[in-house]
């Protein structure tokens, strides 16, 4: 039993296994780049599965659409991880032993070394050894009887170990980060809209880590001031920015707001969370004047349907005021749907947008009246009306018209719908990852370790001085690079010349 365990452990920690596991890791990661992934685009995954029949179903069951969360991917990296630990522990032990060990004894036959030089000098063996020691300053040396052993480049192994331990550290921090991080998106109206990180319900979408239940989010609030965007003449955006105010930590108690200029590539970092400006769009505001003279004004974000011109589609929904009977109220709800063109382009009466910035914006709207279906308990999109209600005839189209700012439609029952104004909205992402600082630190160590271990060479030099009968001394120098031989030749030549005092054999 023990033998079995020992053999398994040896097998697992052997370089051969590690190499195989590295390949498996590379191979297993590949589908994540080739197939759509749930974490990136769930809609695309559904589409792929629908298109590929049983094959898609099979891939779905085997987790190919969430590669990095599957047991088989985890199995590979955990095995690799174990193999790495098993390899590192004995090496660390060996490393500390070597750091205290003396350079190895001089081999009997130095001329067999890959690098070798010799000369007869007019000095005593002791003088020759002394000179060699001087030349080899900075090397770890050990002097014997007429011999010097020297070794250098211990940093190589240091760098190597630093690299591998940093890799372990990075993986552990990454895994912990996945446990305790969260990420949420929310749309906020520019020009005064606020968002407070009080709970999951404040978000439009929220993705928690495994150990996040949403009760202990970092408290902070942001208020979006003016939003501005610059565009090239062809409509390509050059930059977005939102002037915001925020408060976090003690500022919340004292109600102190601090200003920040939020831009793409310049997130707000506060209280351990980051707030990103992801995108923007437009919110048209409509005022409905009901037959009884009461007015309701609503502005809700519409969704850009064309990213280049920011032509946007949406649905602004109204409840008739002052009606307590829910049955009657449901029959008289109003929805303004259609297309918003920031810079209108008209082909006859067909409206489209030709530029993403606001220049006399227009809307092409369909006004619906009837039961919107918002009260039946099912959630519905804020960007569209429930088509089923239209199909069932419970919601009817009562007008279709293009409106410029300030223009209005009068419906058959005297209700008037006016297009008041257009404002900006911004979409924000809030991210929290408590371990990313550690990940960065380990990443830096990885580069340092890698650079050192691949640039430093572990190499040895031996010198032997043998007295000759004629009073002269034969000095031999041998050299060996323990890892990569390349490039050691020049250094050895220099050292050998210095030790042999330029006299060639």
């Amino acid at each position: 039993m023990i033998a079995f365990l020992r053999n398994t452990w040896r097998g697992l920690t052997s370089m051969r296994t590690a190499l195989t596991l590295l390949f498996l890791l590379a191979l297993a990661a590949m589908p994540g780049a080739l197939l759509p992934q749930l974490s990136l685009n769930a809609a695309k995954v559904d589409e792929y599965v629908a298109e590929h029949g049983w094959w898609g179903e099979l891939l779905l069951k085997l987790g190919f659409f969430e590669v990095y969360a599957t047991p088989w991917f985890a199995a590979i990296y955990l095995l690799l991880f174990t193999s790495l630990v098993g390899c590192l522990l004995p090496r660390t032990w060996e490393y500390f032993k070597q750091m205290r060990a003396r350079p190895v004894l001089v081999p009997r036959n130095l001329s067999r070394m890959p690098h070798h030089a010799q000369a007869e000098l007019d000095v005593t063996p002791d003088e020759a050894v002394e000179r060699a020691r001087k030349v080899l300053r900075g090397w770890r040396t050990d002097t014997g009887d007429g011999t010097v052993s020297a070794e250098r480049g211990y940093l190589r192994e240091t760098g190597n170990l630093v690299f591998h331990f940093a890799l372990l550290g990075l993986l552990v921090s990454f895994a912990l980060g996945k446990m305790y991080s969260y990420e949420g998106q929310v749309i906020v109206q520019a020009g005064g809209g606020q968002f407070c990180n009080g709970g999951i319900f404040n978000y439009d979408s929220f993705r928690p880590g495994l150990r996040v239940d949403g009760t202990e989010l970092t408290p902070f609030c942001v208020e979006i001031g003016e939003f501005s965007a610059d565009y090239l003449d062809n409509g390509q955006p050059v930059g977005y920015r939102a002037a915001i105010r925020y408060q976090s930590g003690e500022d919340i108690a004292t109600n102190t707001w601090r200003p920040y200029d939020l831009q793409v590539n310049h997130p707000l970092r506060t209280g351990g969370d980051r707030v990103y400006l992801l995108g923007h769009g437009y919110t048209p505001t409509f005022t409905v004047t009901f037959p009884n003279g009461e007015k309701r004004t609503q502005g809700i974000q519409w969704l850009p349907s064309d990213q280049l011109t920011l032509a946007s589609e949406g649905a602004t929904k109204f409840d008739p005021p002052g009606i307590t009977d829910s049955e009657t109220r449901r029959k008289n709800q109003i929805a303004v749907t259609g297309l918003l063109a920031p810079t209108p382009l008209l082909h006859g009466t067909i409206l489209s947008s030709k530029f993403p910035a606001l220049n006399d914006p227009m809307v092409a709207v369909d006004v619906y009246r009837g039961d919107l279906g918002v009260d039946d308990g099912r959630g519905q999109s804020i960007f569209s009306i429930d088509k089923k209600m239209v199909d069932q005839g419970r919601l009817q189209k009562v007008a279709r018209q293009n409106l410029a700012l300030g223009e209005e439609i009068t419906l058959d029952d005297g209700t008037r719908v006016r297009f008041d104004s257009v404002n900006d909205w911004v979409s924000l992402q809030v991210s929290h990852d408590p371990t990313q600082g550690y990940v960065l630190a380990f990443a830096v160590l990885i580069i340092l370790g890698l650079g050192v271990s691949l640039s430093v060479k572990r190499r040895r030099v031996w010198v032997r001085a043998t007295p000759r009968d004629d009073g002269r001394t034969l000095v031999e120098v041998g050299g060996l690079a323990r890892t990569d031989q390349a490039g050691y030749g020049e250094e050895f030549t220099r050292l050998a010349r210095a030790v042999l005092n330029e006299e060639r054999s």
Partner: protein
């Protein structure tokens, strides 16, 4: 932000001239390769050869060697023109000249050519230019035709000094990594049948070249990925998200890590290691084309 059309035009001219010059260089390398005799043992001196205290006597260059030297000189000239084209691009667009696929490819190939020049200085392998330059030329040609994009400013997410750092480091290291791919293929040929390819340098020299270049590029590539992660944290809200480009960069990294390990493992040295390097080359090129042009991800704007 206006684009300076004059500089943009100069840049395109220089790009085309560089391509032409590289083509000539290849022809000259080919002449040297074709008309030189298979080298004797003497020319195979690599760094692992017995210690050299005595310099080898210089011989007058043969006629085919003269062609080779002209090829090398033209390569240098091409690289200078190539560099000029990139600089002009940068001046005309008023930003670092690696903001789209065309420019990225151009920088990558320049890195490969410069590495090749450095290798020619370090190893006696000039004639290999006939194998090394053509793939680079093909990439440059594709870059200048299929992927060509007019000089223009970049979108907001790319407006960061990380564009300068991350993209340049990644593209340079990817370019350098093209070379060990080619030399590893040559190694595999030579190692399979040394007599059939007498004009190739010894397998030992080819292996050494592959290793030295990989060892140079690998830490650079690692740094490039890490810079990318730092930028992604600021631009996309997370430092790592398994975006297709990130994934394939990870796979590439793992493969080259495997290469370095294989080369230090008994039984994996030599052929196996060379195959791994070729695999790395394949994934590198795959990353360059497939991921940018076929799949859609956050890195897609580096496209056309």
């Amino acid at each position: 932000m206006p684009v300076n059309e004059t500089f943009a035009t100069y840049s395109d001219w220089l790009y085309r001239s560089a391509l032409g010059v590289y083509l000539f260089a290849i022809l000259l390398y080919a002449v040297e390769q074709a008309f030189s005799r298979a080298p004797g043992k003497k020319e195979l001196v690599g760094a692992g050869a017995p210690n050299v205290l005595v310099d080898e006597p210089k011989q007058a260059p043969t006629r085919s060697e003269r062609f080779g030297r002209m090829g090398a000189a033209l390569t240098v000239l091409g690289a200078v023109l190539h560099l000029g084209s990139l600089v002009m691009r940068g001046v005309s667009a008023g930003r670092a000249p690696w903001g789209n696929m065309y420019e990225y490819m151009s920088l990558l190939c320049l890195a490969a050519v410069v590495t090749w020049i450095a290798l020619m200085v370090k190893f006696p392998i000039r004639r290999l230019g006939v194998f090394v330059l053509p793939p680079i030329l093909v990439l440059l040609f594709l870059g200048g035709t299929v992927l060509y994009a007019e000089s223009a400013p970049v979108q907001p997410a790319l407006r960061s000094y990380w564009l300068v750092i991350h993209v340049s480091v990644i593209s340079i290291s990817s370019g350098v990594l093209l070379l060990p791919g080619v030399t590893s293929i040559l190694y595999l040929l030579k190692d399979r049948n040394a007599e059939r390819f007498p004009k190739l340098p010894s397998a030992d020299v080819l292996d050494r070249m592959s290793y030295r270049t990989t060892v140079l590029a690998f830490p650079l590539f690692t740094a490039g990925i890490i810079c990318g992660a730092i930028w992604a944290e600021a631009a996309w809200g997370r430092f790592w998200g398994w975006d297709p480009k990130e994934t394939v960069a990870f796979v590439t990294w793992v493969i080259y890590a495997a290469y370095l390990h294989a080369r230090a493992t008994a039984g994996w040295r030599g052929r196996n290691a060379a195959w791994i390097n070729v695999a790395g080359f394949a994934v590198n090129v795959f990353n360059l084309f497939f991921i940018n042009l076929v799949t859609s991800g956050l890195h897609s704007y580096a496209g056309l």
